[in-house]
């Protein structure tokens, strides 16, 4: 155990931990300002904003010997006896000088800059900067340059921290971004003909500490101080990157990665990052519909529907439920129980699992997976518990036997998820309930069309490819006329009060051994369900 002093506050560092001054200070509740350092990238110590005084305390004598020169906290290891001073006049002056230097050539166009409100240059100027401008006043320039299809660069706002360049060299391995020229003429650029277009490109916008790099998808859309963020998990693939969903008044504006050392570190891929626009698509189905005796679809009211559904399904005969891998664990569990409640012999099957291409692994280990849904593992284990894993293809075979009379199909896919020939195998059912966001060949055949939720509206848990269970909080309310799966199943099971996914998860953990470690408070970074095997082995 190492002990480090931060401004005379003691901080303990574990024997196997390798922390720098910034990280040790964070533990003491002290923020050392910095631009270029990032825990996921190489250390370059070039911004010089994190300069601190550093010394060593003699354990026996208690005497502290300080180095005469400032050192960057990012490149100074927090080893036993290290002393960091972050608030002396010397340190304050150095910080103010760096901040001032960065503003000399900066357009200071905050009123038209997306980054305002989450900009380090702003924040540090306010906290650490000089009181007034001392450098010559320059004419305004704020040039814009496209780096690629998704990222734009406001050249003159750049502070040359090189995080973006290092990201492309070290993480995505694609090295499209470069520094050009030398000295105060340096700029970030791409070579003509070789735009920024790797699948992790959007991360450079997260990394940029100022408003230089911008997301073209988000540009000029919302002021960040209006956004509220909610912890969720990306539904794009089985990697299950932890994310923040940022919304204002039930409109989802952007997704950002959420730090999770077990899953995605600090990153997410572009497909996940920008793959949420379907949530607000005009094609979202709203308002449930029911086929009347003449086979014509008519709008119905949600209020009477749950009881109507239960009665109709109970009368139908043998039932089945197709559980989409987009359902949360809680939703899958409730739906399965609900259908079994109506028919103890009901068949429970897994919905189609969308696979696109191959897993794509990047130099640092980050992987975009071919399985393009967030909870196949989780739903699969629910299906297994309820009678063994049955794939969608196997289920279609079951349908052909013509014994099943009523089926509840949950969808929730982003894009086309089954074709007309697959849909037609549902054609001769007595009752077909389709719960989905968008029209599909199956939707057209349904007896009941139930508009359901998107990932952004769900509350519950997903299990990723590595058996990690992570909780997702709902980010926005569904469009009026849609009823999110979890809340609808809660009502169908006649549970009192409002939908509470935590209660359901506790029940899942108690009933299904695979989920046994998920009974208590789930950490923000999720829980490894394989721990149940360790528990079982004891």
């Amino acid at each position: 155990m190492a002990v480090v002093l931060i401004d005379n506050r003691e901080v303990e560092i574990g024997d196997s931990e390798r922390l720098n001054g910034i990280q040790a200070a964070e533990r003491a509740g002290v923020e050392i300002p910095h631009y270029c350092w990032h825990a996921g990238l190489s250390v370059v110590a070039s911004c010089r904003m994190c300069l601190v005084e550093n010394g060593q305390k003699n354990k026996e004598t208690g005497q502290v010997v300080m180095q005469p020169k400032l050192v960057p906290a990012c490149q100074t290891p927090a080893k036993d006896g290290a002393v960091f001073i972050t608030d002396s006049d010397k340190v304050r002056q150095a910080r103010a000088q760096v901040e001032e230097a960065l503003l000399i050539d900066h357009p200071v166009d905050c009123p038209i800059c997306d980054k305002a409100g989450e900009c380090r240059l702003q924040d540090y100027h306010f906290e650490h900067g000089q009181k007034e401008r001392r450098a010559d006043i320059r004419p305004f320039t704020s040039r814009k340059r496209e780096m690629g299809e998704t990222v734009t660069l406001f050249v003159d706002r750049c502070v040359m921290c090189t995080r973006c360049v290092r990201f492309c060299r070290e993480i995505s391995g694609s090295a499209e971004l470069m520094v050009i020229n030398r000295g105060s003429h340096e700029e970030i650029d791409v070579l003509e003909g070789f735009p920024l277009d790797n699948k992790l490109a959007g991360n450079v916008v997260d990394l940029c500490p100022v408003g230089a790099l911008g997301d073209r998808d988000f540009l000029y859309q919302q002021r960040v101080w209006f956004l509220k963020r909610h912890a969720s998990v990306c539904s794009g693939c089985s990697t299950g990157c932890s994310i923040w969903g940022e919304e204002n008044q039930d409109r989802l504006w952007r997704l950002k990665p959420r730090e999770n050392p077990h899953v995605n570190q600090w990153w997410m891929c572009d497909e996940g990052r920008y793959g949420f626009h379907h949530v607000h698509s005009d094609d979202r189905q709203v308002g449930p519909r029911k086929r009347d005796a003449d086979g014509v679809m008519a709008n119905v009211d949600w209020a009477a529907l749950p009881d109507d559904l239960s009665a109709r399904l109970k009368k139908a005969g043998q039932l089945a439920a197709v559980l989409s891998p987009h359902l949360t664990v809680e939703e899958a569990y409730m739906l399965a129980h609900y259908i079994r409640g109506l028919d103890p012999q009901a068949v429970i099957a897994l919905g189609p699992v969308p696979i696109e291409g191959e897993d794509e692994r990047f130099p640092n280990g980050f992987t975009i997976r071919a399985e393009k849904c967030p909870n196949r593992r989780g739903v699969e284990e629910v299906v297994r518990f309820f009678g063994g894993i049955m794939s969608f293809t196997e289920f279609l075979g079951e349908l052909d036997k013509a014994q099943i009379r009523g089926v509840w199909v949950s969808g929730g896919y982003k894009t086309d998820w089954l074709d007309a020939s697959q849909a037609n195998r549902f054609a001769s059912l007595e009752v077909l309930v389709v719960q989905d966001m968008f029209v599909s060949p199956l939707w057209e055949l349904a007896t009941y069309q139930l508009p359901g939720g998107s990932f952004a509206e769900r509350d519950g848990s997903y299990v990723n490819h590595a058996d990690r269970l992570q909780r997702v909080s709902w980010i926005i309310r569904p469009p009026s006329g849609a009823w999110v799966e979890g809340a609808l199943f809660w009502r169908l099971q006649n549970r009192p009060g409002l939908y509470d996914s935590r209660r359901i998860l506790a029940e899942v953990a108690a009933e299904i051994p695979y989920y046994s470690v998920a009974w208590g408070e789930i950490p923000e970074t999720g829980v490894d369900l394989k721990l149940n095997q360790l528990a079982a082995a004891r």
């Binding site: 911004c47 010089r48 300069l51 020169k69 450098a135 010559d136 030398r182």
Partner: protein, 451 residues
């Protein structure tokens, strides 16, 4: 003072001094033979260490000590980089050695590689020395033909390749790790230390970087011994155990307002005035000196009253200069405007700053902007305050930058303004009578910027 018998420049002046035949005729490669047959690598390190030879590239770090930083049992490869990027304004002694006596340099490289167990050496040669390129390449070819380079040199187990690597006109490639980055094919942004090159240098392997004049000294030390080397120069201060002294001969460059600009070999420790008067024929045009740069422009300025400062590693620091640097003296006569001098210096450093770290990138540009504005007749007294603040705050000495270029940019600012304050104030008041007292920020001077 009796004239010093040149050692390093002894062969210069012979028509064939740059050829192998010419070099061997005066005893060349005798040191190499001695080392390979009678000495172990560690013996070569020892003799260089005992000589207290300090690097001639500008930092003055003890060479033998630097060699001992290499890890003892490293499986290799170990690399040697020879810093021939000589770009410090006022300096040209490396050029003369490479053009006129390349074999003395090459023999020194081979000896240094033998000592450090390097099997590959790169001579990083600045672009602006085409004659050196030609002469070095010819000399290397002669060495390979003679068996002084390549596999199994002189029948020993020691093999060495030396390659020339040409730069592209960037001063920062003379910084140890800037050179390494440039050699590796990247932009020459100096690395943060630790790790130091001896542990992790070029291609992530242990590396020693030495200057051209330093390796020439190695040749002479192996030839004549450590005691010989220590019989020349200024002994270490007996009261200071950390003082390695200033031993050996030094190639002083003298230029600017003197009658006989040139490269002169003298023992370390002659004074600036001696160099000017006894070697350089005195200040030109019967004028007086106003100031002199003691060791390349990065070192700052000596006033006329400070010209008796000894030019050894300790001397210039005692009168507020950065150090001895490259021992390149540039004389400014009484007609020189210190504003012009400082403008020239700031322009140089703004152009050469690598741009990696904030204080140097922005500080050098800000300094030049102010000097441009002052020269355009729109200076303020406040500018002198700001310039001094920049000068006092950027550099590895305060710890605010990654490399010493910033210190080199800072020292001329500090010395010029502090030692010639009255002249700066007079200039500003005279050329900007209406605005010199302004303390608030003023509009920038817009000039056609060039890269």
């Amino acid at each position: 003072m009796p004239p010093f018998e040149p050692i390093l420049l002894a062969n210069i002046g012979n028509a064939d001094s740059h050829t192998l035949a010419g070099y061997e005729a005066v005893g060349g490669y005798r040191a190499l033979r001695k080392a390979l047959t009678e000495m172990q690598p560690v013996d070569v390190i020892d003799v260089v260490k005992s000589s207290n030879l300090r690097g001639r590239g500008g930092a003055g770090f003890p060479t033998g000590l630097k060699w001992t930083f290499l890890p003892k049992d490293h499986p290799g490869p170990i690399y040697m980089c020879i810093n021939a990027d000589e770009s410090e304004p006022g300096t040209f002694n490396n050029r003369i050695l490479m053009e006129e006596d390349p074999h003395q340099v090459i023999e020194g490289i081979i000896l240094s590689c033998y000592a450090t167990r390097a099997q590959t050496a790169y001579i990083y040669l600045r672009y602006e020395y085409p004659q050196s390129l030609k002469r070095l390449q010819q000399a290397l070819d002669e060495c390979y033909a003679k068996g002084y380079l390549g596999k199994g040199i002189l029948g020993s187990q020691f093999s060495l390749d030396i390659y020339l690597h040409r730069g592209a006109a960037a001063y920062i490639c003379g910084e140890e790790t800037g050179l390494i980055e440039s050699l590796e094919g990247k932009r020459a942004w100096p690395r943060i230390k630790p790790p130091f090159p001896a542990i992790e240098g070029v291609f992530h392997k242990p590396t020693v970087v030495n200057n051209i004049e330093t390796v020439a000294c190695v040749t002479q030390i192996v030839n004549r011994g450590a005691e010989w080397f220590k019989s020349i120069g200024v002994p270490s201060d007996p009261n200071n155990p950390r003082d390695p002294g200033s031993y050996g001969p030094k190639l002083y460059c003298l230029s600017g307002h003197v009658n006989k600009p040139g490269c002169y070999e003298a023992p370390l420790g002659i004074t600036c005035r001696q160099l000017i008067d006894e070697y350089g024929g005195g200040v030109w045009k019967n004028r007086k000196a106003k100031a002199a740069i003691p060791g390349g422009i990065s070192m700052g300025l000596l006033t006329e009253a400070e010209l008796d400062t000894p030019l050894d590693f300790a001397g210039p620091g005692k009168v507020g200069c950065l150090g001895l640097g490259t021992a390149a003296v540039v004389v400014l006569d009484e007609t020189v405007s210190m504003v012009d001098f400082l403008h020239n210096s700031c322009r140089f450093f703004q152009h050469e700053s690598c741009g990696q770290c904030t204080p140097c990138r922005e500080g050098t540009a800000w300094s030049l902007d102010m000097l441009n504005r002052i020269k355009a007749g729109r200076g303020r007294l406040k500018d002198l305050e700001l310039l001094l603040e920049i000068g006092d705050s950027i550099g590895i000495i305060p710890g605010t930058t990654i490399c010493g270029l910033a210190d080199g940019a800072a020292w001329p600012i500090k010395n010029a303004i502090r030692k010639f304050r009255a002249e700066f104030e007079e200039y500003i008041k005279r050329t900007n009578p209406k605005g010199y007292a302004e303390t608030h920020a003023v509009p920038a001077l817009i000039s056609a910027g060039a890269h």
